[in-house]
Symmetry: C2
Subunit: 563 residues, 2 copies
């Protein structure tokens, strides 16, 4: 099928997120304009981010990812009758003629091409999965995880019990979500491979990623970091065999390639539009490409990081939707800026909630910034309230001014509030003292009287005044003593051996007895104080310092950060 | 018991929230200073805000409200050994001599008084419950709900099944929490009386409060608004009889007086410190009273509202904790400002989560501001995700610039993120367009690809461009037609009669058929479009307007806002 007309005021290329959003807002703003959207595939406006939850069995039907909340399929009829614009599927744009202002459309079914003129053009061509740097057999059991078909095939095999062992290459967000999908209710023996030293690299620092790795392990997923794959071959006892750099081979029934995506910017490049080093289409603050008649949004563009100004490729459904909105406003004559990106992420991995916004310490250092960081564990509600849960958070600050750079939070508790609030603080260039003025909503079913962000700010200020706060990855220090200031019952109950990782010797003196038992402590050794979450260690360190102990540090996040 | 010394560097009056927080931070900052805290009662540092959850049975033991997370009682030994300051209970401060810089302490048990000198004095004397403006008998069955004893007595009687009928006077936060405690698992026939036209007045506007009132009714609590009480007498068939202004009498077994609190500022007043019109102690940005050697924090002070600058009395445990912190920093020689208050509230009422921050429309109008508002209902997660729930939100803006003034959110879904983020936006003087740049964390288990705040901003901009968005309380409009654009199955299933409240006639044309069925609609009548949450109505109104219909409005928040 092809359009009756040969020209539209607005032509939009891409029908998943940014494309339909642009078209829908534009049709609302300019109801008399002609708007035509071309989509290469047959499916429209599906919720890509929902695919892992279909694969996992949490969502019954993949159909629900393609329907409105009231059950209507988002097909071309829906967009025409409800949203007011024309959609053609199976219609691939193979060329842009910027002089004539036409696109060449290939009608995939009919196998013929035609030209369609545009007033303004919007590119929302999305991204495509990265191919592995190692050879893989052409097998239906080796799949990316980016399309509904990928999810459908896995679930169909999983439901039939046809996958005994699955492997995932790539420990990013999708890799982690797929690990839960595979190792969760389907009970598949699942191994996650990541070539960097920790999963979720760059987004999460090692000590936070370690908490997630331990959760995956607890749930039966084997995590292998710092592990490179050399090749994948058909196996003898299993359909596939993975060959690792250390010479080991791993039999597997199904291989997920979760190696990230890259911008689908070939069409733009061929048309001579400027492309960034990330491979994304370059845009200005109005999401306009180097051709003022062509805008671009969604996963095909390169964004500017709001904290560093550096170009960054950040494919996110939430950003794609906001891009669509901004483009439509600009096209409708209302100049609207897209301020760039901070990188706000949430991801669920079994019983852990994870979130990050801004820069991790690793990324900040890579950007050439001078940074400080603090880590702490907190209750998300008062401990007396039945559903109280713990979160561990790491805050990254710029030295010496204390400008906020990033936050990572992980735990069973409510992390979303903290990420969202921190995001809004980051967008204003706030410094750590600004967090102290944050007025959070408080009631026992929802929060503590002081928010984790208040406590993190307080820790950062204490650190600035000389308190030494270690990260769990700062590790053991030779001759040091680990002083556990929890109550005896807590100390006996769990993690007695944890202290040993930090120091060769562990001593338990409950905080309430510390002032009376100072003479039990050596004055010539480094003392690392630990407790459950951190506040008692903090208090203990102050008591020790006031009593003249010279080399005292606390373990940020306490035993909780080691679980 | 009384102090050995007759002077302390820092004397703190009050041992519940702001007092112990000030002392604890100060002891950390200045470990060699002498710090003495006097508390009139015997109990220290208990979580007042947790009392309703002990009364309700959610919390097993009231003891947990007085212990640390690791089970240690917060008594004078705890504060001395762990926190490093001295505490005396049963020690009432009856006089401040500002010239001599002494306080006169009455040892309640011993019945004698003594003087104690101070370098700096901190008043954290808290608040006391308002007495009713009507006569009440002196009965143990008529109680405020502000102390552990209030909660203990109610629960003891409730557990023994001795309360058949309970009444609550005052529909503020505590009144609502007590209504759940009483009408919940104890199954007591509970009636909530509020003299204003809606419960939670000033904080929530009527259409949002109405959602809460309906939830209370669904859970069996009778809500009587605009109802004044004249007197309470001993009853004939029941221990108590409430007499209402309309002549009715209501038998009751137990009466809660939840009429709010007022600052306990008598001591400060007698010492000649400046007191505000609210009755709270006047403080500057450093929380210093009119005497530079005396600071004050917690429920006894008067704050400045960050949006209006107006003085306001806002007793909140979360603020009290931040006050304590700020006072201690100032006393430790690190000038720290308290920026004033926005009023951020959260409260749980049965299965509804409620939150508000900033000004309601009612309060903003009362402050003399010119305001706009929009209301909408939203899914807190994608509808395809299993645990997705709805929230209804109202945003208040200043005319004409669009400065953000307030947000109210209510629903079964996640409201806390939105309140906290909006609070941080309010603190920077943000305008509505700033919300469009908000980068929220997104993943299906937690959020939609666009946040409710994005949608609210979009609605506000649409309203500015001429879209008429009604509140449920704008009510019926004579000859108007209610156009329900939901699917037929949704229309048939529920709330068919809801439309009748809005207009004498209801017509159902699903949105997807609207363009084809425009001729079924009258062009000479006002059309009020409704759907489930709002987006379909919005789209429908644009279709109608583009087709030349002149008088079209939508119901903000949809049918969801009427449930």
């Amino acid at each position: 099928m092809r359009p009756d007309k040969t020209y539209s005021d607005f032509v939009i290329v891409g029908g998943v997120a940014a494309g339909p959003k642009t078209a829908a807002v534009l049709a609302r703003r300019l109801p008399n304009a002609s708007i035509t959207l071309f989509q290469k595939g047959e499916r429209l406006s599906y919720a890509t981010c929902g695919l892992p939850y279909f694969a996992s069995g949490d969502i019954d039907s993949i159909d629900s990812l393609m329907r409105t909340s009231y059950g209507v399929l988002r097909d071309r009829h829906f967009f025409r009758d409800t949203k007011g614009f024309s959609v053609f599927t199976g219609a691939e744009i193979i060329r842009i003629d910027r002089k004539k202002k036409t696109v060449t459309v290939k009608d995939i079914e009919a196998g013929e091409a035609y030209n369609h003129g545009y007033g303004k053009l919007v590119l929302a061509t999305g991204a495509r999965p990265n191919h592995p740097p190692f050879p893989v057999p052409d097998s239906p059991l080796v799949r990316h995880f980016t399309t509904p078909d990928d999810a459908l095939q896995f679930r169909s095999l999983a439901e039939k019990g046809k996958i005994g062992k699955a492997s995932i290459v790539g420990g990013g967000f999708i890799g982690c979500e797929v690990a839960e999908a595979s190792g969760g209710i389907w009970g598949i023996e699942t191994t996650l491979f990541e070539k960097e030293d920790n999963i979720l690299p760059y987004i999460f620092d090692p000590e936070i990623a370690a908490i997630v790795e331990r959760e995956l392990s607890r749930k039966g997923v084997v995590v292998k970091t710092a592990t490179e794959m050399i090749k994948v071959t058909p196996g003898v006892d299993s359909p596939l065999e993975l060959h690792l750099s250390d010479g080991a081979t791993v039999p597997t029934d199904y291989l997920f390639l979760c190696l990230g995506v890259r911008p689908e910017s070939g069409l733009a490049k061929e048309a001579g539009l400027e492309i960034g080093n990330s491979g994304g289409i370059k845009i200005n603050r109005y999401l306009q490409t180097s051709d003022p008649d062509i805008y671009a949004g969604g996963d095909c563009i390169e964004s500017a990081h709001r904290l560093t100004g550096a170009p960054i490729f950040l494919p996110m459904g939430s950003l794609a939707n906001r891009h669509g909105w901004v483009i439509a406003e600009n096209l409708a004559g209302h100049p609207t800026e897209f301020e760039g990106v901070l990188g706000a992420f949430l991801v669920k991995v079994f019983d852990l909630n994870l979130g990050a916004v801004g820069l991790s310490e690793t990324s900040a250092l890579k950007s050439g910034l001078e940074v400080d960081s603090v880590i702490g564990s907190f209750s998300d509600k008062p401990d007396f309230y039945p559903e109280s849960k713990t979160v561990t958070a790491k805050m990254v600050l710029e030295k010496p001014g204390g400008r906020l750079l990033g936050l990572q939070v992980v735990g069973a508790g409510d992390i979303c509030r903290r990420i969202d609030v921190f995001s809004s603080f980051l967008s204003t260039g706030a410094v750590v003292d600004d967090l102290l003025s944050f007025e959070h909503g408080y009631a026992p079913p929802y929060s503590e009287s002081l928010d984790p962000l208040h406590h993190l700010a307080s820790l950062a200020l204490a650190q600035k005044r000389g308190m030494k706060i270690l990260s769990p990855f700062d590790g053991s220090c030779g001759n040091s003593l680990c002083l556990d200031v929890r109550e005896e019952s807590e100390f006996m109950m769990d993690n007695v051996e944890r202290g040993v990782d930090l120091a060769p010797e562990v001593l338990n003196i409950p905080l309430g007895s510390l002032r009376a038992r100072l003479d039990e402590l050596p004055r010539d050794r480094k003392i690392i104080v630990v407790c459950k979450r951190g506040p008692r260690s903090y208090q203990a360190a102050l008591i020790l310092t006031a009593a003249g102990f010279k080399d005292v540090a606390i373990l940020g996040g306490g035993v909780q950060g080691l679980l």
